[in-house]
Amino acid sequence: MNILTLIIFTPLLFGLIIALMPSRWRSSFKYVALLATLVQLAMSIWIYCNFKTGAAFGGINHETQFQFMQKLPWINLDLGAMGKMQIDYFVGIDGMSVSLLVMTSFVLVIAALSSWEIKSNLKGFFILFLILDMAVTGVFCSLDFFMFYIFYELMLLPLYFLIGMWGGAKREYAAIKFFLYTLFGSVFMLLIMVGLYLSVKDPVTGNHTFNMVQMMNPANYEPGSVFSVAAHQTIFGLSARAVGFVVLFVAFAIKVPVVPLHTWLPDAHVEAPTPISIILAGILLKVGGYGIIRVCLSIFPDIASSGAYWLGLLGVISIIYGAFNALAQKDLKRMIAYSSVSHMGFVLLGLASQTAEGISGAVMQMVSHGFLSTMLFFLAGVIYNRVHDRGINHFRGLASVMPNYTAFVIVAFFASLGLPGFSAFIGEIFSLTGAFKSHTVNGLLPYWMAACGSAGILIGAGYFLWTLQRMFFGTVNFKGGTVWQTALVDLNFREKLTLFPLAIMVLALGLMPSLVFYKINDSVLALVQFLQLK
């Protein structure tokens, strides 16, 4: 059995088990879910260790260079005159996916651990949780666009219910907003996907295909087809390929999220229960970034180059705009949500640079943000669970009451604001370096973008330190008085167990960035080379 297939469908299996278990055993559902994620984590670590590196394993646009591949015919319909419809079950990973895959399974374990706070309708929650788990894992492994799309859409459904049913006060609004916003993006993605399908032919079988790797080779496009590189077709007077790129980019940009398509995020994050906030921030946002690499850059490299300026600009705007918004927040979770917008801006900037440093930095930033936002949302959940309040101004002097908690907060905050020794520093500095270097290497981004982007690091220090000062230091003074003071007990064993590995991970990646860079480097170089050739 293929390991990727196993890792994708393991959660589904465990979901089935939960579905079949009688509701009497509801207290054990969380252990089953945790077990599912742990099994997944073990498999992903195995994959990580056995993932081969070297120029022969670059991946990107070479189908044979992907690893742990499985390709089975899935839907084959004879459409008569229109040829054969060919949809494959096609999974495989290269350097771009492997680090995100490991990060995802790690974050899912944390999310499962933080699901302890869920008290109602456990069966539904954990089944949806595991379906979501399957969908996100599937996205990172799929190499067939049709499959990718199915997993991509499949993430929305459980999330809608998870936010809408287990969320906070304004959960219905947030859930619907999230669902419609993302659906808006992906519906148009469907059109482009079909357009690509009709343009690309599998050179071996001669059928139209959804194979993403084949979509990257201009030779596979039928002459005169809508997305053919040579044909220069137009849609509404605009270059068809540019339209395709923009539509796909908008779909993924909503997920990332890129300003101005980000407003679903603060609401969804604030209203979602902690485990779902963790999955949203830790994994969902990376699906956006991953999609930009795998689909936008790789299938439309020509447009990605000519539009790099705009991508970079959006990245810089996201960095600065998100940071300023975070500065104005009075709700801890909302502050973290806006900081995510700012941090994901670095990813876009790094990708837009199309340099090895920039892309490596962007991937590192995604992995790092996966761990860090998980940690931040978990930490926000800790005090919310105790006193059901997150107002920054409602707390003061938490450090005296919860010293261990404060220690983890300091680690998470400083790691997030890019203190060297932690992973975010590596991600940010190389995204910026790549962006700066871009002008001399390929002339895509002007120098000032990186310089402006580094201002985000400065404002980042501002909002994190301000929050630290207001909530954690000073003399003890809570809005809820002594009731809160007794409720705010320090971290328990489970919480420490959750936070400790996360802190270790961000530290390890900061000290040994090669943990990520070593595995992704060949793919990064392959991608850079591919983008240069166009």
Binding site: K177, S400, I457, M512
Partner: protein, 687 residues
């Protein structure tokens, strides 16, 4: 032979590495054992720094004036760039390595007594060790990337230590301010590093800044900055230097980023002695020393102007402050200004010389201040007075109560003023003489720099005299205001005295030169001067020190008259100049109203924009959707459905009409048939 030398070098590197990592080990031990070994944690850190100190001594002896040692290991690969982690030992780095550990050792010993009763004693030493680790790493790393890492870690550990008493509002405001201002510098350094990396494709300090390195082979041509490895528009050379300057200004508290340092005095005094007098603030000057070749003439002049301005400005502020530690803080800013100015005028060796001597006497003065404050706090606590123990207006006459501390203060003070027989004399006069030499042959405006530097010397003499007289001479003013208070005051245990002795020894000339008058004879100065370089004998300004020092003595006497004897007229305590000085030239107010408030307002504005405009448009899109759906629903119900209903109604009406004929009565059917046939006939006849 070759191999033997190689082995020696490797050993040197291992010694250095151990010296750097020992404090880190102490940090890890203390942080993990928190709460369990409260008694010995201080000694864990102290022993670690002692060993570092000894190892640094070895390394120093081997490398000073010998060949530089440089070894590195591959750290990671990104794209085609390989990043190395390595150690670079040359005169500059071994000097700093030794200096940092030598200053840190007495501070550690002192801290074991000074922080004895603090509830977070272990945490204090953990942080202190962490600071030592980052500072030691900073001075020995061999590439800009690692340099940036240690640079930020230094800032971070300083943040932890300034806010060590995190329950005090002022302390946490101060550490936030310090970190954010340092971040501005970090940003500058980051941009500079990005520019250099883009230009030279490497982070390696030797490759870029060595004598025949990449920088020296770069030229400005036709608006381009051309190097052997590529070219950039010329403006980026200036931006890189500007970035480095920002970094220097932030760490070494130069105008315009100096305001964090006085506030940072909220930390424990022992911390101020180590970090905010001797080491961290010197890091900026050290950075200048590392990247010196990248500055061109104009940039150096700007550096000199800013350094000189900072020195003067901070000295004028120090004249009127009443907080013991803040006076010392402004004095530090002023002295750092001297160092930056010296770098700017090309007096590289003098700048580093002053860095070293300043570390000793300023650390000494801070430790003295710590003892005084400690004793004042005792008096305060014993008698429940509720005064500020750092306010020199309450002090006076302490020379009888604290004789040992008094002598240390005198030595430190004289060195700070720069009177003969002290180390400060050697280094300060070397800067002043260089400044005059530099201004020779330049325009008259350039003369302002040595003149202001000279003025600053006398200002220094005045505020030092004022400080020492107010604290140690006369009568204890507290006693005058509230008679009958109990005084149990003493110099303290050996852990207080030994550090003072060690540092005081470093404030005197023998450590640096056998000749107490001529700075050129100092080994330290020679170590950084090219062979056959500057000689004081040849200088037209050889007699300058005599003038400077005799005037300094006069100023000191004047201050003594004012504050001890109260004979000479007291300085005006009002007027614009006094207010300007007392309020530190209003920089805090200007920054607060001119920068911080607008930035926060901008944050609120973007959030408003986000909520109302961006989110508003999404919501109005949703509302439009709902409106359209309502409209279409109305259309559906009233028009489309209405049409169908109309059809139905018509059909039904017709049906109802037709149904009337189907009533089942034969007569009626006959009658209707008759009517129809008759009407047909009538129609036929008529038509």
């Amino acid at each position: 032979m070759e191999q033997f030398l190689q082995a020696i070098d490797t050993q040197t590197i291992i010694f250095t590495l151990t010296a750097v990592l020992l404090p880190l080990l102490a940090f890890v031990l203390n942080i993990t054992m928190r709460g369990r070994w409260d008694k010995i944690s201080g000694w864990v850190s102290t022993v670690a720094i002692l060993l570092s100190c000894i190892l640094s001594g070895f390394v120093f002896a081997r490398v000073w004036n010998g060949h530089p040692v440089h070894q590195q290991l591959l750290w990671f690969t990104i794209g085609n760039t390989q990043l190395y982690a390595g150690i670079l030992l040359n005169n500059l780095s071994v000097l700093m390595l030794l200096l940092v550990s030598v200053i840190a050792l007495p501070v550690h010993i002192y801290s074991t007594a000074y922080m004895k009763d603090d509830e977070h004693y272990t945490r204090y030493f953990a942080f202190l060790s962490f600071f030592c680790f980052s500072m030691l790493a900073l001075v020995v790393v061999d590439n800009l990337f690692l340099f940036y890492i240690s640079w930020e870690l230094v800032g971070f550990s300083s943040y932890l230590l300034i806010g060590f008493w995190f329950k005090r509002h002022k302390a946490i405001m101060a550490n936030k301010k310090a970190f954010i201002m340092n971040r501005i510098g970090d940003m500058g350094l980051l941009i500079a590093i990005m520019v250099l990396f883009t230009q030279y494709h490497t982070f390696d300090i030797t490759q870029i800044f060595a004598d025949n390195g990449l920088i020296s082979r770069s030229v400005m041509k036709n608006g381009l900055w051309v190097s052997p490895t590529g070219h950039l528009p010329a403006i980026w050379q200036y931006i890189a230097c500007g970035g480095v300057f920002l970094a220097v200004a932030a760490k070494s508290a130069q105008f315009p980023l100096h305001t964090w340092l006085p506030d940072a005095m909220e930390g424990p005094t022992s911390v101020s002695a180590l970090i905010h007098a001797a080491t961290m603030v010197a890091a900026g000057v050290f950075l200048l020393g590392r990247v010196y070749p990248m500055f061109n003439g104009t940039e150096l002049t700007i550096l000199a102007i800013i350094g000189c301005f900072t020195a003067f400005m901070a000295a004028t502020i120090a004249l009127t402050q009443n907080d013991l530690k803040r006076i010392l803080a402004y004095s530090t800013i002023s002295q750092l200004g001297y160092m930056v100015m010296a770098m700017g005028i090309g007096a590289y060796a003098s700048s580093l010389f002053h860095l070293v001597t300043h570390s000793f006497f300023k650390a000494l003065l801070f430790l003295v201040a710590g003892i005084v404050i400690h004793q004042m706090r005792h008096i305060n606590d014993d008698n429940g007075l509720g005064i500020d123990p750092q306010d020199i207006q309450h002090m006076g006459g302490l020379r009888k109560k604290l004789p040992f501390t008094f002598i240390a203060a005198i030595i430190g003070g004289l060195a700070l003023v720069g009177l003969p027989l002290t180390s400060g004399y050697l280094s300060k006069d070397s800067i002043l003489i260089h400044a005059f030499e530099w201004a020779d042959g330049k325009g008259p405006l350039f003369k302002l720099i040595p003149v202001f530097a000279l003025l600053t010397t006398w200002l220094t003499a005045f505020y030092v005299a004022r400080l020492i007289v107010k604290v140690f001479f006369g009568e204890l003013r507290l006693l005058k205001n509230t008679p009958g208070i109990k005084l149990h005051v003493s110099d303290g245990s050996w852990a207080y005295k030994l550090p003072l002795v060690l540092l005081a020894a470093g404030c005197l000339f023998p450590l640096f030169s056998a000749n107490p008058i001529e700075f050129t004879r100092s080994w330290l100065f020679k170590g950084f001067s090219p062979a056959g370089g500057f000689g004081a004998e040849s200088s037209a300004y050889a007699l300058l020190p005599v003038l400077v020092n005799s005037l300094s003595l006069l100023v000191i006497y004047w201050a003594w008259l004012i504050y001890a004897k109260q004979k000479a007229g007291s300085l005006l305590q009002r007027g614009f100049l006094y207010r300007l000085s007392f309020n530190a030239w209003y920089f805090d107010e200007i920054y607060n109203n001119g920068i911080i408030k607008p930035v926060l307002a901008l944050g609120r504005f973007t959030f408003w924009f986000d909520r109302i405009i961006i989110n508003g448009s999404v919501n109005s899109l949703a509302r439009t959707g709902i409106l359209v759906s309502k409209l279409s629903s109305w259309f559906d119900r009233n028009i489309i459905d209405g049409f169908l209903n109309l059809l139905v109604a018509i059909v039904r009406a017709i049906g109802n009409f037709a149904r009337k004929f189907q009533n089942g009565r034969v007569q009626y059917y006959l009658f209707s048939m008759l009517v129809i046939i008759l009407s047909l006939f009538i129609l036929k006849i008529l038509v």
